[in-house]
């Protein structure tokens, strides 16, 4: 059956196949048959997706569709929720990240996360960036730490704005600066993947544009998965876009395809504002 002809009811009740190109050769992360449950309630249904090296992939969909839940599976942030259960296979390179032998703290250094609301530690700007490197044992050397802090802040375009006040509290920065600081903190530990959960939803348009530009620059060195409610943001920053609906991954395609000629009727309805 043509996927475009699947009705909404069938999407909820039947097995289905994601439309488009969810899989690829030699991905950074490989997700196979992933189901997520909150207690008895199933939130994610049989998701299969490859995330490419150095790609920016956006997850879009209506509220409650499971896109954030899915994102949080990728670095086991869901472990912090007692009733949450993840089934299926999630590989980082070839390593199963849900393997019992995996050190979750180390995993979260490899797969960093930036949240919706900027959440700097109640410490100085310098310490916010240096802290992760210290606890992950990257370095304790003051000179090396100075270099790391400077390099991370430069990469996030924040260095010029804060270099003369590194000892001031991070909470004194503007929202956009705080979010870039959080990104600097995430990249200071040299992750392979950065997960961003609506990173600009608390920012004004100028700060949003700065963060989007940063995402573009960071994609040269990192794989970035971004959950966003702003479809225009997904269109601007990502190479591929994944559309979730009621816990199912409906379509994954090149962003240009998704926004000009999506394959699936539900994707079309969502991005044209017919369902929300």
């Amino acid at each position: 059956m043509n996927n475009a002809q699947i009705s909404k009811a069938e999407i909820v009740s039947e097995t289905y196949q994601t439309t488009g190109s969810p899989l690829m050769d030699d991905p950074k992360m490989r997700v196979r048959n992933v189901d997520v449950f909150y207690g008895e309630k199933q939130a994610i249904f049989d998701v299969n997706l490859d995330i490419g090296k150095n790609e920016v992939i956006s997850m879009i969909g209506p509220s409650g569709c499971g896109k954030s839940t899915f994102l949080r599976c990728l670095n086991r942030m869901n472990d912090t929720i007692d009733i949450c259960r993840v089934e299926g296979e999630l590989l980082l390179e070839s390593q199963n990240i849900y393997d019992k032998k995996i050190d979750v703290v180390e995993l979260r250094a490899r797969v960093g996360m930036v949240f919706q609301k900027p959440n700097p530690f109640p410490k100085s700007i310098y310490e916010n960036v240096a802290y992760g490197a210290r606890i992950h044992g990257l370095t304790d050397n003051k000179v090396e730490l100075d270099e790391l802090v400077e390099k991370s802040l430069i990469r996030c375009g924040l260095w010029k704005e804060v270099k003369d006040r590194l000892d001031e509290p991070a909470t004194g920065l503007s929202g956009g600066q705080q979010q870039r600081l959080c990104i600097a903190r995430a990249i200071a530990v040299n992750p392979e993947v950065i997960l961003m959960d609506e990173p600009c939803s608390a920012l004004d348009p100028i700060a949003t544009a700065t963060v989007e530009e940063l995402i573009h620059e960071l994609s040269e060195n990192f794989t970035i998965c971004i959950v966003t409610h702003s479809m225009q943001q997904a269109a601007r920053v990502s190479q591929r876009t994944a559309y979730f609906h009621l816990g199912k991954l409906i379509e994954v395609n090149d962003t240009s395809t998704v926004f000009t000629n999506p394959e699936h009727k539900l994707t079309e309805e969502y991005i044209t504002g017919r369902i929300g």
Partner: protein, 237 residues
């Protein structure tokens, strides 16, 4: 996603109304352009320049509508940031409006030449030879407007076939006019006028096909410009 194009159904009913209004204006513009061609052919058929002045008046209305629709498309792009089918509708409409305006210009050009010919019996006879071509172009224009109104990619392909026949007919007209000029050099001036008019009619056919290509892009998401008809049929299954 190419099963059907829906204009309405947005959560924002205002957006539905904006899109519907644009579509209605395009169809109105199409109706005016069709009337321009109709009045031109009427003048040719009935040897009467009575309605030619209307062709010029209609052209001013067509030009105004072109600008109005363009402005509305710009507003939607700026305010709504349309995507997918909505985006294709705005792009296809914006392009089609330009073609409609040019169809109006070509009809006006033919009308002016017909008026000139009506003052001159000899050339008027030669112009009569264009009636058949004009009627076929009129049919194609009507079919094209239906294709846009129904957003029907299949009829768009059928119209392309019609245009091929028009091109063949135009070629025959040209051959006939060249022979006429060869026979007697006194015919050259009149024959050239008729040839220009025939060229304008043929161009109207080409503009119709541009609109049909826009409809295919709108409905199927496929850009079929500069593609052979057989290949288009293959693409659309």
């Amino acid at each position: 996603m190419n099963e059907e194009i829906k204009v309405g159904g947005h959560i924002s009913r205002q957006f539905d109304e904006e899109l519907e209004e644009i579509r209605a204006r395009v169809l109105k513009m199409g109706g005016l352009v069709e009337a321009q061609l109709d009045k031109t052919l009427h003048a040719l058929r009935e040897d009467s320049s009575e309605q030619i002045v209307d062709v010029e008046k209609l052209d001013r209305k067509v030009n105004k509508l072109e600008m109005l629709i363009d402005e509305e498309c710009t507003q939607i792009l700026a305010k709504r940031q349309p995507a997918a089918g909505d985006l294709r509708l705005i792009i296809a409409t914006s392009k089609s409006v330009r073609d409609l305006e040019r169809i109006g210009d070509e009809a006006e050009r033919v009308a002016t030449m017909v008026r000139h010919a009506l003052d001159n019996d000899a050339s008027n006879k030669s112009f009569k030879g264009l009636l058949s071509l004009g009627e076929h172009v009129k049919e194609l224009l009507h079919a094209t407007l239906n294709t846009y109104a129904r957003m029907d990619s299949r009829s768009a392909v059928l119209n392309m076939r019609m245009d091929q026949h028009i091109d063949e007919e135009y070629s025959r007209v040209v051959v006939r006019l060249v022979n006429l000029m060869k026979k007697n050099s006194d015919n050259i001036s009149d024959a050239l006028d008729v040839m220009w008019a025939a060229r304008s009619l043929e161009r109207i056919g080409d503009h119709c096909i541009n609109i049909c290509e826009n409809v295919i892009y709108l409905v199927e998401g496929e850009d079929v410009r500069h593609t052979a008809l057989d290949r288009i049929k293959e693409k659309l299954g």
